[in-house]
């Protein structure tokens, strides 16, 4: 125990606190204090009976110290008061009788009472301080955890969760929200109110009880409000950044789309314009063969433009969610053969092998759109593989489904890019700079799915080292829903 220089200053605040808000005793103290007091008194009486009055006084003093240290200031003072009474009653002569007759009676009694009081106050105060320190450290831990959670908060909901864990609802309503700036309170308030409408369990498994929550008297509410304000500002900024990022991405996509459209529209137009203006200006200087070649260029580039326009229109059709036109029973060999024919016209030297072993190849589809599907896949294959690499088209029935595989022997598609090849406007790293819009495969996927089929890509195909296989699976017309009605 450490004595402080000014006894008055030591004694007065605890008394004020005792009278004031802190005159609290725990249940344990209420039971323990009388027990200790009783034991000390019994020991004192026994000592007195055996004519050891000093030992008797010391026993009582010990009781005061034990109670003060164990039960706090209130317990210490109560014990001290009782001990002074018992001293007078049990120990001072005449025993079992009150009364102070002479100065010789006064001196030991007053000395004992003062000593008892000082002991009770000092030991009790020590206990109270230890308890207060413990409480403060607990609050500090809660405050630290609270501020750590706030620092990790990336959205308002995180802030609300942190508040719910650390601070009681009353404290927030009465002490924290009014401390916030208008703007911050307007942001946090609605979130908070909707959060407290939910059961507390929603705040998380480690939700604190009210006892462990931050008390408005113990924490600097200004500091808490500042922490909250910073966290709210940060969440706001993060929100704005995420929004800006989303806008930037969509702008990037638009730019890529425009650049791609511009390239794919202007390239054929450029060839047509160059050929037409050459014929116009220098026509008579060309020999007949050159002139025919130029007209051929104009013709084929017009077809190319037409195909591109058709693709854009198909895309629009898919995007607006239009029904896949007129569906009918289609023998897959017909649109497939027609698509292969178109591709051969584009690249006559390319070897395209057919392996059609399906007995029945009837599916429920729109024939023009199905042809577009095959053409897009084949066109993709011839565009991105060397001209000498053959392409194989296989058709087979597997159970109730028709499986179509279109396999090229090109360089294949990397595992990273494979999941994205059906995405609109996706173009592989190797195809950058080539013409093509990244539309073909996404249109094929949209159409196949409209017919109730599936499409996927395998690279390299089973049993091969390089190349890519696009696999389409369509329900056979006999098993398709509409097939029974129309077939």
């Amino acid at each position: 125990m450490k004595f402080e220089p000014n006894m008055g200053a030591v004694l007065m605040p605890p008394i004020a606190r005792l009278v004031g808000r802190r005159a609290t005793m725990s249940v344990r103290a209420i039971v323990g204090v009388p027990v200790v007091l009783g034991l000390a008194t019994i020991a004192a009486v026994i000592a007195q009976q055996t004519r050891h009055p000093v030992t008797a006084a010391l026993f009582l003093m010990m009781g005061i110290i034990v109670n003060g240290a164990g039960g706090g200031l209130a317990a210490g003072l109560v014990t001290a008061g009782c001990a002074a009474f018992f001293y007078n009653f049990f120990i001072r002569f005449p025993i079992f009788e009150f009364g102070l007759d002479s100065i010789d009676d006064y001196v030991p009694f007053v000395a004992f009472t003062v000593a008892a009081g000082v002991c009770g106050i000092l030991s009790g105060r020590l206990k109270d301080r230890a308890q207060a320190a413990e409480q403060a450290s607990l609050q500090l831990d809660v405050l630290l955890a609270f501020s750590a959670r706030l620092q990790h908060a990336i959205k308002l909901q995180d802030i609300v969760d942190a508040l719910r864990l650390a601070v009681s609802e009353t404290t927030v309503r009465e002490h924290i929200l009014p401390h916030l700036e208008q703007r911050h309170a307007a942001l946090l308030g609605p979130q908070w109110r909707s959060a407290i409408a939910r059961p507390r369990a929603a705040a998380g498994p480690d939700a604190q009880t009210d006892a462990a929550a931050l008390q408005p008297n113990d924490v600097d509410l200004e500091a808490v409000a500042d922490l909250l304000a910073m966290a709210i500002e940060r969440c706001e900024l993060l929100d704005q950044r995420a929004e800006a990022e989303a806008i930037r991405r969509s702008e990037e996509l638009k730019t890529a789309l425009l650049s791609s459209l511009s390239h794919d529209l202007r390239t054929p137009i450029a060839a047509i314009a160059a050929a037409a203006s050459s014929l116009n200006r220098y026509g008579e200087q060309f020999d007949a063969r050159t002139r025919v070649e130029m007209f051929d260029t104009i013709e084929t580039q017009c077809q190319r433009l037409d195909r591109f326009t058709a693709k854009l229109l198909s895309l629009g059709q898919l995007q607006s969610g239009a029904a896949p036109g007129d569906m009918e029973i289609v023998d897959i060999v017909e649109p497939l053969g027609s698509a292969i024919g178109q591709v051969r016209a584009l690249q006559p030297a390319r070897a395209i092998n057919k392996d059609i072993s399906a007995g029945s190849a009837l599916v429920w589809a729109n024939p023009a759109m199905l042809e577009q599907v095959f053409f897009n896949i084949l066109e993709n294959a011839i565009s991105y593989t060397p001209e000498q690499a053959p392409i194989t088209v296989r058709v087979a029935t597997v159970g109730e489904r028709l499986e179509i595989g279109i396999t090229d022997e090109g360089g294949g598609i990397s595992a990273q890019e494979l999941p994205y090849i059906f995405d609109r406007f996706f173009r592989s790293a190797g195809s950058r700079g080539k013409s093509g819009q990244g539309l073909g495969l996404s249109i094929a996927k949209g159409f196949v799915e409209a017919f109730g089929g599936t499409i996927c890509a395998v690279s390299p195909p089973r049993g091969a080292v390089t190349g890519t296989q696009i696999r389409i699976s369509l329900p056979l017309a006999s098993s398709a829903e509409g097939g029974a009605l129309h077939g």
């Binding site: 650049s259 450029a270 060839a271 160059a274 050159t290 195809s431």
Partner: protein, 227 residues
């Protein structure tokens, strides 16, 4: 000896059309479809003009501009369907001499090729005079004659006109002009617009409808050789 032209474009339809036209005009023509092939051909032959498409399968055309120049390719005309002005400017700043947007007419292409060939190999070294339909410049005497009449230009106006005329018929980027007039490419290009307006008032018959100094939107200006 005939001047040689290298067409670098992965689009066969374009080169198939341009080859016969350029040949009838007396040029020797070679083609390349990739950046690598273009550099290989440039190593073997010193081309007078390279027509370069920016969207090549193996590289961005811009990346090979510097190397084509160092392989003694006299002039590089970028031909591209890209619509972004920024890319054209970047290609020109990279060292390209001119650009042409797809689609183009063969007359425009011929005019650009002639302008490129007309330019002396080392800029400004040998030429003493500039003569076009409307304009004559004596570089040594710093005299400018417009349709027969001598006009007086401020030093800055003259510097800009000199720069434009040294690239006669070709596009000159704003950056190049700012360097020529202010020696500082970060100068506010509003200054440049002001001086171009002043020049047009002295050179053009109708400054509101310029025919001598043409604006290349978003890129720079071009001094027209013949109307």
């Amino acid at each position: 000896m005939a001047e040689t032209i290298l067409i670098i474009d992965d689009e066969p339809a374009i080169s198939r059309t341009l080859i016969p036209v350029l040949r009838t005009q007396g040029y020797e023509v070679e083609t390349a479809t990739t950046a690598a092939e273009a550099l290989r051909r440039a190593r073997q032959t010193a081309f007078d003009v390279a027509l370069l498409d920016l969207g090549l399968p193996d590289a961005d055309g811009r990346e090979i501009i510097g190397r084509l120049h160092s392989l003694s390719c006299r002039a590089i005309i970028v031909i591209s369907a890209r619509h972004q002005e920024a890319e054209k400017v970047a290609a020109l700043d990279e060292g390209a001499d001119d650009y042409l947007s797809k689609p183009f007419s063969v007359d425009e292409l011929m005019a650009r090729i002639r302008a490129a060939l007309r330019r002396p190999q080392a800029a400004g070294s040998s030429a003493k005079h500039f003569v076009s339909q409307d304009l004559a410049i004596d570089y040594a005497a710093r005299r400018v004659i417009v349709r027969g009449d001598e006009i007086r230009l401020s030093p800055k106006e003259y510097a800009l006109l000199e720069c434009l005329s040294q690239h006669g018929g070709q596009v000159v980027t704003r950056r190049q002009l700012l360097l020529a007039g202010w020696n500082d490419p970060t100068t506010d290009s509003q200054n440049l617009r002001t001086y171009i307006t002043l020049l047009r008032q002295k050179l053009e018959l109708d400054p509101a409808e310029p025919r001598v100094i043409l604006t290349e939107a978003g890129v720079g200006y071009r001094l027209q050789l013949a109307v």
